[in-house]
Amino acid sequence: MSRIPVTILTGFLGAGKTTLLNRILTEKHGLRIAVIENEFGEVGIDHELVVKTDEELFEMNNGCICCTVRGDLIRILGNLLKRRDKFDHILVETTGLADPGPVVQTFFVDEDIREKTFVNGVVTVVDAHHISRHMEDTHEAEEQIAFADVILLNKCDLVPTEKLDGLEKILREVNALATIHRTTRAEIDIAKVLEVGGFNLDRATELNPHFLEPDAHHHHHSDISSVGIEAEGDCDGKKLNDWISKLVQEQGQDIFRMKGVFAVKNQADRVVFQGVHMLIDAASGGPWAGRPRKNSLVFIGRKLDREALNKGFRACLA
């Protein structure tokens, strides 16, 4: 049975999530999409394919952030997955102040849901006019950006182009992996929102951590950032496994997302991995197909120590 793709939609209140949702629900894209909506704002959506729910956090393991999941999602998805008439896609909208972590973790932790669905990507809608203030005032805005596979820099009509360039640079410093689209009234090809494949290891290709090099000319105010590592040569599989295990045990709460493509000694194929906090998935990434064997690794998180991460990884080289 094929698993149903799930897109997680985040963004601050007023950023344009509802506008985007309305587009997704009304445009003729041929997909039957169920929407699970957490935002009970002034502008609610009344639609037969929308179910409204209160966000409900379940702590699975004494308050550990990595083991916190969304109980309401588990039950709603459980019911939707029982239906004979399955949906093509499920979209989960979080509240403006939500940490996307527990939503993503729900799809990793609950066995039934993991078996029948997969997270296709996290899409974050950003209000270009107000994002600087949101990032200064709250940590949620930055975390939503940090988790994203796709960022819609929305309301671009309200901001001059040169300022948009600066905003995009700030977003990239927080999350260098996300694809950024500039939009007005959330106008975008729906495929760019739904067909992301951000958590799909089968679709993992070469990462390009080059653009993650620190920018000497820009002072970064946030403690959330991206760190990219690239190294030629094969890794020692055991050392790599031990290092990543230790890293997520010690710093998992501060690591929002990580992705990697590795050349492991005695393994002909690429090894791809991705993680959210302490939860990690790894798989064979298929043959190198003529590309040079090298290791690429990206972390997005809080208080990341670039030097220590580099040193730790290089110690894993065979």
Binding site: A34, F40, E48, L49, V50, V51, K52, T53, D54, E56, L57, F58, E59, M60, N62, G63, V69, G71, D72, I74, R75, I76, N79, L80, K82, R83, R84, D85, D110, E111
Partner: protein, 323 residues
């Protein structure tokens, strides 16, 4: 066993409920029309569904009550929209005087005159499940993130709370009112001896515990967290504390539905279509095993006769009479 009749709903059967007099069976599928059938499977009434998904239905004032993802409760001749968000289940108090609907952080309570003044709103956590005290109709247990709370209608604070920090999925109250049990996501079972204020935590289940059932005399508690159903003795001063439970095997996949009859028979259904009917005698059990065509998702014994309603994942409902 004799097949009295079958009927089909449009989708996976989510819940089955006999009317208090046992004359009608309410079959709620995951989506689509909700059916009222007679004892031989004849369809008596077809009720509209609730959009993307139905919640668990109930009987109130001798009529079916339905709810669902559209946030509505449908009673005879009226639609009740108590708040915002989906409604996962409605349940009637044992004396039939109150109907409760769980919706987000509220437990809406309706009396026979249509008043909602006893509703519990703005609770600390969402109501994942709730159970009326079978021995005292004005008491209700609410389970959610962090444990369970016990409430007396009309009071603004719970009279007891069990904080264990995890996540409960199901709550059951023993017919004698002594025990409260929760089936948990973790996966485990919490049991509370309410008069002694004594909690027990039972671990070791293979998966989250989505089904539990007390026997009608409160002597046993059956829990399903794998293909093996565990039945705990609930008698004596300490109940299951330190006791050896009965382990019932015979399922081919995880048990999904459990129900005790008024005579103490335990019915178990699994996702592979295995039906077990268990008879207990002097600490031992006898097992009658049948293999049905589709996964079993809901079970409900008739309130007074040896008739078992079996709901399937493919939408079929079968009525079996035990000889």
């Amino acid at each position: 066993m004799k097949n009295l009749g079958t009927f089909a709903a449009e989708d996976h059967i989510l819940h089955l409920a006999w009317s208090p007099d046992g004359a009608r069976l309410l079959a709620t599928p995951a989506s689509g029309s909700i059916l009222v059938a007679g004892q031989e499977g004849e369809i008596l009434e077809t009720l509209p569904g609730h959009g993307m998904g139905n919640g668990e239905s109930a009987w109130f004032q001798d009529a079916p009550v339905t709810c669902g993802f559209d946030g509505k409760v449908r009673l005879v001749g009226r639609e009740w929209n108590p708040g915002r968000g989906l409604i996962e289940r409605v349940k009637t108090s044992p004396d039939g005087k109150f109907l409760a609907a769980a919706q987000g952080k509220s437990l809406h309570i309706l009396d026979q005159e249509g008043n909602e003044s006893l509703s519990l709103r703005d609770l600390e956590t969402s109501v994942v499940d709730f159970a009326w005290n079978p021995s005292r109709s004005r008491e209700v247990a609410i389970a959610g993130a962090g444990g369970a709370t016990l409430w007396r209608l009309g009071q603004k604070k719970p009279f007891a709370r069990f904080d264990w920090g995890g996540a409960s999925l199901r709550v059951g109250w023993s017919p004698d009112g002594r025990w409260l049990a929760t089936g948990d996501q973790t996966p485990s079972v919490h049991i509370y001896d309410i008069p002694r204020d004594h909690p027990l935590h039972i671990q070791g289940f293979e998966s989250k515990v989505q089904a539990l059932a007390f026997s009608s005399e409160s002597k046993q508690l059956a829990t399903a967290g794998s293909a093996v159903v565990t039945v705990w003795p609930m008698t004596g001063k300490k109940g299951p504390d330190g006791a050896t439970p009965i382990q019932i095997d015979g399922c081919e996949s995880a048990a999904q539905a459990l129900d005790f009859s008024s005579k103490g028979l335990l019915a178990i259904g699994d996702g592979a279509g295995t039906l077990l009917v268990i008879t207990f005698e002097k600490g031992q059990f006898r097992r009658k095993r049948s293999k049905l065509e589709s996964g079993i998702s809901a079970l409900a014994w008739h309130p007074s006769q040896p008739i078992l309603a079996i709901g399937h994942e493919d939408g079929q409902v079968m009525l079996l009479a035990l000889e």
